[in-house]
Every structure is written in structure tokens, then in C-alpha cells.
Amino acid sequence: MSTSMTDRSAHRGLPPLLEVNDLKKHFPIKAGFFGNTTGHVYAVDGVSFHIEKGETLSLVGESGCGKSTVGKALLRLFPPTAGQVVLDGKRIDDLSQGQLRPIRRRVGVVFQDPFSSLNPRMRVKDLLAEPIRNYGLAKNGAELDERLAKLMDLVRLPRDAVTRWPHEFSGGQRQRICIARALAGEPDLIICDEAVSALDVSVKAQIVNLLQDLQTQLGLAMLFISHDLAIVEHMTHRVAVMYLGKIVEIAPRRSLFGAPKHPYTEALLSAVPVPEPGASRQRIVLKGDVPSPINPPKGCRFHTRCPYAFDRCRTDEPELKQTQPGQWAACHLHDLPEASNPLARSLPAAA
């Protein structure tokens, strides 16, 4: 791939590669003979973030928090209800599908399930050739073959594997094929929607390493959607934590994992089982379940489970506020004096 892609990450002063402003996706609930709308699922309800060139931003949260919906709305697999999506300075959320098609080249996607992500009736070469042909990246058969070979090299599969069918590969190998397909259009951004969650431990490590290598090699930006906090911490530059369709905290990796500023982030981190027997950690076990996104709680959406909730949380909805450079959290605790703020601790010094 071209040299301009590799040194892009050096230019940090430029506008961000992707900017998302107040993105909303409400799914109507239809019922009855005439399919009347009886309510909405507020899957994504006002999400804003940006991704720099060559940067990894992770979206984390539990199932139903809307993180996958964000990814799919960015890919325009369904139209967003409201909000702006700006790719490299150009608004793309208001384009028609036809206008959007050539721009899709710049965003690749890898989904969770490597088995259903590949059409079982297409050979690997046809699967990979599809985006190459769509974007007119190969003028003739020889150029196509050359690109296919390059893609297979990138994801470290044997070149002659292109003539085989998806069912001849294992889960990890299929995920490599999916990554190759995502790279076929020479994108600037890859959306990984739980891309390693379905894989076995040893294979997961292979794919995580591959993604990291590709990112440095190709200067890719990545939106890494995952519920696996340990993998996220390993991979990412910045993290956005979602709860019930909203971002509750967004921060650089070290700040978020070292000194979370939202009670939900804190609880999420403490809930992850750690492979160290006898590790004495103070665990915050949240009460109850995530409320329904059809009827989210008034005020702060987390107040029904928050161990620190006070009166204001039940009525006022907190907004994302900067608590430290780069670290934003949506929590009223930070308006309290520092002595009565349980999340006021600062980041431990680097070891």
C-alpha cells in the first residue's frame, strides 16, 4: 500500500478522521394489524466521539448498550435517526446509498461471527474480489491476482488458499479472511464489531496481534467494539464506555483503567474476573439488571444501579464534562467537593 498511508499517523494536528456528533438511532416498535408505532427502542441516544488517523478508539459496554448499533449506523446498514457523521471533513450521514458507495472504500468492517460473515457459496477469491471490483481497484485479472496475493500475505494466509471455500477453514482463519476483505478497499478506518469475541483464547491472541501489526503497518484507525475489557486495554488508545445508548465516560486508556471517573466504569472494571487466584480486589457488584432501552430511567440512566446515587441523579441528566485533560465523564459526583467525591482519586504514577 502507498507510503502516504503509513506516515499519516505522524500528523496529529489535522482534523480527526472520523467525527460523530450526537448520533441517535431509535428503532420503532410496531404492533397491530396496521403496524402502528407503539414506542421506540432508544438503542443509541446521542453519542459523540472522534477518531484520529491511526488511532484506536474502543467502544465498550454490556449487551444492549448500543455499541454495535453505533458501528452499524456508521456503516449505514440502517439510517441513523439523528446526528452527524463526518469522515475526513466531509459529512456522510446525509448521502444517498448510491453516493455513499464509493466512500465505503475508506471504512472496512469485521464482524463477530467468522462463520456467518462469509457467504458459504463463494470462494475466498470471489469474496475478496467483491470489494476490489466494486471500487474499481483492479483493471485486469493480473492486477486482481496481485491484490489478492497481497491481501493474503497481509493476513498471513497462504496465497493459494484463495481458491478454497470458507468451510475449509477454521474460525481463526476465517476471521483472517474477513480482515482481508475489510482491507481490500485500502481503508483508513476499520470497524471491528466484537471481532475477536467468538474466538478461542489462543486464536484470539493471534488475531489481536495481527490487528495490531496491521494498524502500525498500514496506519489504520480502528473503532474496536468489544465487551472484553482486558483485550480492549491491551489494544486501544482511547476508550468510550457506553451504558443504555449513551457514552458515560471517554478517556485515554491509562486514565480510564487506572482512575475511572464514572461509577459504571469503576464497577465494570471491578467485575472482570482476573486470572490470578487469590488476587484480593475490592469488587463492586452492581445490583439488579440493565433497565430496558425502551423506557430508560429519568435523570442519570445509571442511577438505578449506581452505588453512589443521590437525589440529583434521579432528576437531572448529567452531561459529559471534562474531569482531566482528555478524560470526560457524565456524572454529578464531579460537581461535589472533592472530599465527598468517591471518584476523585488520581491516576497512580507509572511503574
Binding site: G35, R101, V107, V109, L118
Partner: protein, 311 residues
């Protein structure tokens, strides 16, 4: 794992005598070698083999009917009326003296034509409607309400009504039954399309810049063919039965054409005394429908991906 290089010297010295080998494990079951190729496939799917074999014979009968010692199926012979089966007339003769054996053999042609004709046209039209319905949101509810309406009428009644509007001919019979069968196919295709649309590989294709017609052609259509094929066999069998039923009540193939339904209709009056006139076409109809259904069941089992996942 930094120690991997250090004990290399010691490792080289280690031989089979120094280590504890695991006790060999007994074989719980022996692998069976299975025949490959067509014969192996037939052995593993006996329903396909039996159904296919029967259907092959029936097709041969239809094609070679003139050479299978038949007479003109429409030739009247008043002297030879209602003769019992004998060496001269294997299945006997009917009340106009026509040879039942010849009529039944020629009737095979009508049944197969109707069965396969309806299966083909209903599949193609149903596939198109199902694809539109599965992809065009606003059209979906309109199409499906129409299909619901069609489905609420028993297909034989619908066919009778359609036949009443047209002149009796094999082509019109095929048309009438096809219209009656379309809702079933389009519902099936719509269901398959809706589930395929949710597949991540379709999302991935959209994200790869593939246009909607290409997605339908390349990603949706090939994956609907397996369930369609199975459904087509069932429609084929149903169409044959409906054709016989229509002819039997006089609303189907014109009486001049020997079809199984017609033969049975003509033999109905003499059922008490000359049961063979009804018996032979009925047996042929049953065997043909059975063959097609066996083939359909076999195909379903063979194409069902869940069956392939059995450990």
C-alpha cells in the same frame, strides 16, 4: 519461556527409554469406509435413491408410452366395452371400450407435465414475489396481505374458480394451479430472504460497496435455492393431486385428453362392478406422488445444514 534455549543439551540426550509413555488407548469404534461418489450418496440417502428411481421409471413410461405395447388411448371400440383385465387388455377396457392400460400410460404425460410445470412456474414467480417482498419494505405488507387472502382459499377451490373462467386445457390447468400455489412459495422465499438479510455476510457485502441487485443475485438467491428445491417437489406432488381432483370433478383437463383424473372420473359410475378402471390410474397417481415426496424428503435431509452438523 525464556528458558527454552538453556536445556537444549539435556533435551537432545532424552530418548524414548528415559520417558514415561502413555498407555495406548483401545479403539472404541472402528472407522467405516464409506463409498464415495454417486453410489455412496444413494446408499446414505435411500429416500432419494428410491424416489428418484421410481420417478425415472415414470418419466420413461411417459416418454416411451407409444412403444410400450399401447394402443391409441382415444380409440373407441364399443364391442370391447368394460372387459376385465386380460392378455388382450392388460388393465381392461372402459365403458367406451378404450384400453385402460394405454390411457393410464398416456395419462402419465399429463400428470408429469402439470406437476413439473406448476412446480417450475410457481417457483420462478414465487421466487420473484418473495424477493421483492423481502427487499422492498413498502411493497411487503401489500403483497403479503394479498397472499394471505389467496392462502385463505383452499387451492383446489381457487383452481376450480379459475378454471371456470377459462377454457379447459392442460395449459390453463397449469396456470390455475400455479396461481393457487404461488402464495406458499412466496411466503417461504420471503421468510428465507428476511433471515438471509440479517446474515453478517450480507452486511459485509453492503459495507464492501456492493449494490442491492448484485447482493440479491450473488448473496441472497443462491442461498434460497436449497429450500426452494425442496418446496418445489412438494408443490409438484400437490399439483398432480389437484390436477387429478380437478379432472375428476370435470373442471380440469378436457375429457378428450386421457389424464388419470379423467380416467377415474369416467370409471366412477362403474366403481361397484368394474373397480379396475379407477384402481389402475389411482395406483399410478399414488406411486408418482409418493416418488416425488420421497425425493423431496431426501433432498431436505441432504440439504439441511443442521444434519451436516451432527458431530
Amino acid at each position: 519461556m525464556s528458558s527454552t534455549t538453556a536445556p537444549l543439551a539435556g533435551r537432545a540426550a532424552l530418548t524414548a527409554k528415559d520417558v514415561a509413555a502413555a498407555a495406548p488407548l483401545p479403539d472404541v469404534m472402528q472407522p467405516k469406509t464409506r463409498r464415495k461418489g454417486a453410489i455412496g450418496y444413494m446408499l446414505r440417502h435411500p429416500t432419494i435413491a428410491i424416489g428418484g428411481f421410481l420417478l425415472l421409471i415414470i418419466f420413461a413410461i411417459a416418454i416411451f408410452a407409444p412403444f410400450l405395447w399401447t394402443k391409441d388411448p382415444t380409440a373407441l371400440a364399443p364391442v370391447m366395452r368394460t372387459r376385465n383385465p386380460s392378455a388382450a387388455a392388460w388393465f381392461g377396457t372402459d365403458m367406451l371400450g378404450r384400453d385402460v392400460y394405454s390411457r393410464v400410460l398416456y395419462g402419465t404425460r399429463v400428470s408429469l407435465m402439470v406437476g413439473f410445470g406448476v412446480a417450475f412456474f410457481a417457483s420462478v414467480i414465487g421466487l420473484a414475489i418473495g424477493l421483492v417482498s423481502g427487499f422492498v419494505r413498502w411493497a411487503d405488507s401489500i403483497i403479503m396481505r394479498i397472499m394471505d387472502g389467496l392462502m385463505s382459499i383452499p387451492s383446489i377451490l381457487l383452481a376450480i374458480a379459475l378454471m371456470a373462467l377459462t377454457r379447459g386445457s392442460v395449459g390453463n390447468v397449469i396456470l390455475a394451479i400455479t396461481i393457487a400455489e404461488i402464495p406458499r412459495v412466496s411466503r417461504l422465499v420471503r421468510g428465507v430472504v428476511l433471515s438471509l438479510r440479517e446474515q453478517p455476510y450480507v452486511d459485509a457485502a453492503i459495507a464492501s460497496g456492493t449494490s442491492t441487485p448484485v447482493i440479491i443475485w450473488r448473496h441472497i438467491l443462491p442461498n434460497t435455492l436449497a429450500p426452494m428445491t425442496v418446496q418445489a417437489t412438494y408443490i409438484c406432488a400437490a399439483a398432480m393431486l389437484i390436477e387429478a381432483g380437478l379432472s375428476f370433478i370435470g373442471a380440469g383437463t378436457p375429457p378428450i385428453i386421457p389424464s388419470w383424473g379423467n380416467i377415474m372420473a369416467e370409471g366412477r359410475a362403474l366403481w361397484q362392478v368394474k373397480p379396475y378402471i379407477v384402481f389402475f390410474p389411482a395406483i399410478f397417481l399414488s406411486i408418482t406422488v409418493l416418488a416425488v415426496n420421497l425425493l423431496g424428503d431426501g433432498l431436505r435431509d441432504s440439504l439441511d445444514p443442521r444434519a451436516a452438523k451432527r458431530v
